[in-house]
């Protein structure tokens, strides 16, 4: 059973790994002679112009900026929302759920207009603005649930000690939110790393592409001309960081989504 699940989840990826290590001729027909295995596909991808690692650093940069900005905005918002009473609290909560479900591709045209009119197109860091907005709903919902878990007396005590709002947040509440912040950060980073429609329309300079767009471009030709070996190598290289992240942060991701689902 376990084996079956692993085969289903990893099979397509392992096939990519195999493809990436084969000589192009070996993909089409069994070789009659010689060794079919090669690293040439990786050399090709890494020596491209721009080299493949550029896309990885681009995506990482946007991901980190987005994560930072999202947390900066989401933490105060979640705290405020948690303290708020009355119909507004309910209304904002509902709006956040609706926004979290919204298929983001429908936003790209209006966002592209904005980007063009204020000169944000082809600006890698500017991408993190819409990304932050796309991540905010989930981040606020997760963090609000985490704030709700903290005992109310804790903050009251800190207030009696004379700590201001900023100090209470920084020295009392946030240290206790460590796990929630970590899992929120990872989910935000993943979402921004994988976003497609906005990056596709905002970025046209090839040295600024994020990974998903770059990979789609590599495969952009017709079905018959796709250099599958090179593409598979790109897939493997692009998957490795995520594989590491998921393996290391599995607990965080699961607990983050769990908490979100229980409270949301």
């Amino acid at each position: 059973m376990r084996l079956l699940v692993l085969l289903w989840s990893l099979g397509p990826l392992l096939w990519q790994l195999r493809t990436s290590l084969l000589r192009p001729e070996a993909l089409v027909a069994p070789l009659l002679d010689g060794n079919p295995w090669t690293l040439a596909n990786y050399q090709l991808v890494l020596s491209g112009d721009p080299p493949f690692w550029r896309y990885l650093t681009n995506s990482t940069l946007v991901g980190l900026a987005t994560t930072l900005l999202t947390l900066l905005l989401a933490v105060p918002c979640a705290y405020g929302l948690q303290r708020l009473r009355g119909p507004l609290r309910w209304g904002v909560g509902l709006a956040l759920v609706a926004a979290a479900m919204f298929p983001t591709v429908l936003l790209f045209l209006a966002l592209l207009e904005i980007a063009r009119s204020i000169g944000l197109a082809n600006n890698l860091l500017a991408l993190s603005l819409p990304y932050t907005a796309l991540s905010l709903p989930l981040a606020v919902l997760l963090l609000r649930a985490a704030f709700a878990d903290l005992p109310r007396e804790l903050e009251d005590a800190a207030r009696l000690e004379g700590l201001g709002l900023g100090q209470r947040l920084r020295f009392v509440l946030l240290p206790l939110l460590g796990p929630a912040l970590a899992s929120t950060a990872i989910l935000v980073f993943l979402a921004s790393w994988n976003e497609y429609a906005i990056a596709l329309t905002w970025i046209s300079r090839s040295d600024l592409l994020t990974l998903p767009i770059a990979i789609a471009r590599i495969g952009g030709g017709s079905v018959f001309t796709i250099p599958y070996g090179a593409f598979a190598a790109a897939t493997v290289l692009g998957s490795l960081p995520l594989l590491l992240l998921v393996l290391l942060a599995q607990r965080s991701i699961v607990s983050g989504l769990t908490r979100g689902a229980v409270k949301g």
Partner: protein, 295 residues
């Protein structure tokens, strides 16, 4: 300052950004959908008295795409819920190596859609992909997985299920973890078998999580874009084109921003109607089930 004012001020920056990114586009599409703004007008918006909406009603391609999108969404969400439930039940059991197993099953969800869309394109390749190689070695002849208009949509569904099932499983796993183990134990002592426990205890308690997964995935699937753009480009013969892809083509290829806005807004409205329908259905059946269970 009053505590309420402080709360609102704390929320303001985030809410402003959200309004700019979510609300503004919808308003903008509402306005643009009443304008002609295409190459013909030099990309300058000119009011055209609702002609876009009239065109939409007569646009066979839009309605075909709407039906195709709905078919894709319903099939893939149904399969994801079934598969996700099975996967969640498996991952919930105390198995050796559960942590790494959870991480590895989660991997498809964590990868960029485009990456694996191209991966699937190779797997489905006719005639060199592994699937066709396997079919041939069993004595069959190659099948055009991505070039047969009547069946290609199903293989797109398959690729989507592969990618998003882990996410559904994770949500349901969260639900499973809220079910007290002693309840299950009590039923088992009463002599209930596994299937009965699943029907009488697990499923009813999972209803909120199933509903959440259903609504969330339905919304996402109705807006499917990157998977289809990369896997099939909407083909063969437009048989997998989704509404979002059609809207994208109107904007970026046909450069008709007025009509593209109309299509996007119409897609959004269809989405609202579908989700509303789903929600009502869930409330009727889901709540009845839960109350039945409680009494």
């Amino acid at each position: 300052m009053k505590s309420r004012t402080v709360s609102l001020l704390l929320m303001l920056p985030a809410l402003l950004l959200l309004a700019a990114v979510f609300l503004y586009p919808l308003l903008r599409y509402g306005w643009l959908s009443l304008q002609a703004s295409s190459v013909l007008t030099g990309l300058v918006p000119v009011p055209n008295g609702g002609a876009n909406w009239g065109r939409l009603l007569d646009d066979a391609r839009f309605w075909t795409d709407a039906a195709q999108t709905l078919r894709f969404a319903l099939c893939s969400v149904a399969l994801e819920l079934l598969g996700g439930l099975a996967l969640a039940l498996l991952l919930h059991r105390p198995l050796r190596g559960r942590g790494p197993l959870r991480a590895l099953t989660l991997l498809p969800w964590a990868l960029p859609t485009t990456v694996m869309a191209l991966g699937w394109r190779w797997i489905f390749n006719d005639p060199h992909g592994p699937l066709n190689a396997a079919i041939r070695s069993l004595g069959g002849s190659s099948y055009g997985f991505l070039s047969t208009p009547s069946t290609t949509w199903f293989f797109v569904v398959l690729a989507d299920v592969w990618k998003t099932m882990p996410f559904v499983a994770l949500l349901l796993l969260a639900g499973l973890q809220t079910i007290p183990a002693d309840l299950e134990e009590a039923l088992r002592l009463e002599g209930a078998c596994r299937l009965q426990i699943l029907r009488r205890l697990t499923l009813p308690l999972l209803v909120p999580y199933l509903s959440l997964a259903l609504l969330f995935r339905l919304a996402q699937a109705l807006g499917v874009f990157d998977l289809i753009q990369v896997l099939t480009g909407g083909g063969p013969a437009g048989s997998t084109e989704s509404l979002a892809l059609y809207a994208y083509l109107n904007a970026m290829r046909f450069l008709d921003f007025g009509y593209a806005s109309t299509v996007m807004l119409a897609t959004f409205l269809l989405l609202l109607v579908s989700l509303g329908g789903g929600w009502l259905l869930l409330r009727r059946h889901g709540l009845e089930r839960t109350t039945e269970q409680a009494t």
